[in-house]
Amino acid sequence: MREIILQVEDLRTSFFTRRGEVKAVDGVSFYVREGETFGIVGESGCGKTVTGLSLLRLLPEPAGRIVGGKIILEGTNLMELSKKAMRAYRGKMISMILQDPMTSLNPVYPIGDQIAESVRLHQNLADEHMVEQEVISALRLLRIPSPEMILRQYPFQLSGGMRQRVVGAIAMSCHPRVLIADEPTTALDATIQAQYMALFKDVQQKTNVAIIFITHDFGVIANMCHRVGVMYAGKIIETAPTREIFNAPRHPYTSALINSVPRLDRKDDRLYSIEGQPPSLMNLPPGCRFAPRCTVAQEICREQEPPEVDIGNGHSVSCWKVK
């Protein structure tokens, strides 16, 4: 078994608004191994992105705050680092790719400068020539054609797919151990999406980076991830190897979610959808947070929160139905 690089334990992140505390992430635990891709899947507003930002400790302050938990990256608890020490970790040890390639590059600098910014910050290189070599190798890693030319171009001169690769190059430029990818393919069209995912796998093979892949797309999960955590209303309710999630989902929410994916091999009149709305994160139901929408919920589900049960084979579920 490969080594565990990042271990998240009982992470809790809240937003403190005038109307009350919004528990965006409410006790999330998971781990990622070296060279492994862990997917976090869930519907909009379930706390996927906030989980990603929390790992970097980059929440919109002062409203958002991590109120509890541990983030252990290679033996160091990131929660205990000073602001300055945390900055040194960002980009070097743990990095992130944002959703929209159109807006995540600064319009006023050539892209080479933007990659070089990270290189200069984290690698003590003697001269500018070495910085440029690093920039070029980062562009090569993401298979960007003729990097020597591309690095002098401005973001507006590149296509969306190319920009997203550049964003990837920035994230990977200092060889981080963990990469958080927050729906990096959502803004791309299907062909480019497939290309990009293949590219990611290639990058992972070359660098052995651990990837946390945040998405709402089960197709992407099936393609990319080794293990998956299904998130609902701020909590991971089921974790399993990708194959198991698809073949033997145990949590009613997971199976409902998989059922809602349109399929080519079945002819359905109507697409399946889950009744109701996710609960407000400001006042969660007392029991299982999925109980109000669950078709098999019992008395106990509405009263007590289900504990996480390990059912073997790296599969764990939080549901009263699972013994």
Partner: protein, 297 residues
């Protein structure tokens, strides 16, 4: 084989001849020309002015301009109550107006931009504090404070600049703060944070270059305001002390003689009006060119 290939100009306004194009841009060309002239006269005042600005001649007091009966080409725009050449004084006045307003703008723009970026980026209490101070600066009666400063420090070149700067930064701070706030929430700032760039560096390298267009628009639009404010102070006698000529004080000098020597006040007044108007036109034009939402052609 040589063929005549018609090369089309890169930027062609639809259906406009060359003259039409020039006419269309007159709103920009004319103010720019006036401004260029202003800068030129300010720099070369020593060579352009026919007389020293403080040379009095008691035998030639209140001489009318050359084209009015009794005027001579020696003093083209006439002379004032002390017999000083108005043209020469107006030329030197350009130097005062320009240097005072440019220095004051440099100071106010620097202070306002710094505070605006810090407030917009830092947010929270720092933002609240800076913006409340800005509100106070905006609510304060500027002329009153200017008088107070002039009285306590004594009139002079730097007193005027100080008085114009002490409140003038607030407009910049407010506009820049809004813009910085918008950019602070952009993805590329998030991206910079992700790779571990420090807050000060983000403000300097990522936010500042992206507010430059707004800043340039603000600066050009405030040239007129500053010249006007300087003139107002000089008119009230709390500006540049005599015998240095300032357009404002020149207007003030002639106000008792308006009925018999209208030219003493009129020409410096025209200078003020023309320059302020040009400044505003130029500012509008630059704003139209720099704001992509307004640039349609």
């Amino acid at each position: 084989m040589v063929t005549n290939v018609e090369v089309k100009p890169k930027h062609q306004y639809r259906g406009l001849t060359q003259w039409g194009r020039i006419f269309r841009n007159l709103g920009m060309i004319l103010p720019a020309a006036i401004f260029a002239l202003l800068i030129f006269t300010a720099i070369f005042a020593n060579f352009l002015a026919p007389f020293p600005y403080d040379e009095t001649s008691l035998t030639e007091r209140r001489q009318p301009p050359a084209w009015v009966e009794g005027g001579s080409t020696k003093h083209f725009l006439g002379t004032d109550t002390l017999g000083r050449d108005i043209l020469s004084r107006a030329i030197y006045g350009a130097r005062i107006s320009l240097s005072v307003s440019l220095l004051a703008i440099a100071i106010t723009a620097s202070i306002g931009t710094t505070l605006g970026i810090v407030a917009g980026y830092m947010g929270g209490r720092i933002d609240a504090f800076i913006m409340r101070v800005t509100d106070i600066a905006m609510a304060f009666p500027g002329l009153l404070l200017a008088i107070l400063i002039a009285v306590s420090l004594g009139p002079g070149f730097f007193t005027v600049i100080f008085a114009l700067s002490i409140l003038g930064w607030s407009g910049y701070a407010r506009i820049i703060r809004g813009e910085a706030l918008r950019i602070r929430n952009s993805d590329y700032v998030a991206q910079a944070q992700i790779i571990g760039v420090s807050p000060w560096r983000i403000m300097l390298r990522h936010i500042f270059p992206n507010i430059l267009n707004i800043l340039i628009i603000g600066i050009t639009l405030s040239v007129g305001t500053m010249i006007l404010a300087e003139s107002a102070m000089s008119y009230l006698g709390i500006g540049i002390p005599p015998p240095m000529p300032s357009w404002g004080s020149m207007v003030s000098d002639g106000r008792n003689d308006l009925d018999r020597a209208w030219w003493i006040s009129t020409f410096p007044g025209i200078c003020i009006g023309l320059v302020v108007l040009s400044g505003n036109f130029l500012g509008d034009w630059i704003r139209d060119k720099m704001d992509p939402r307004l640039r349609q052609m």
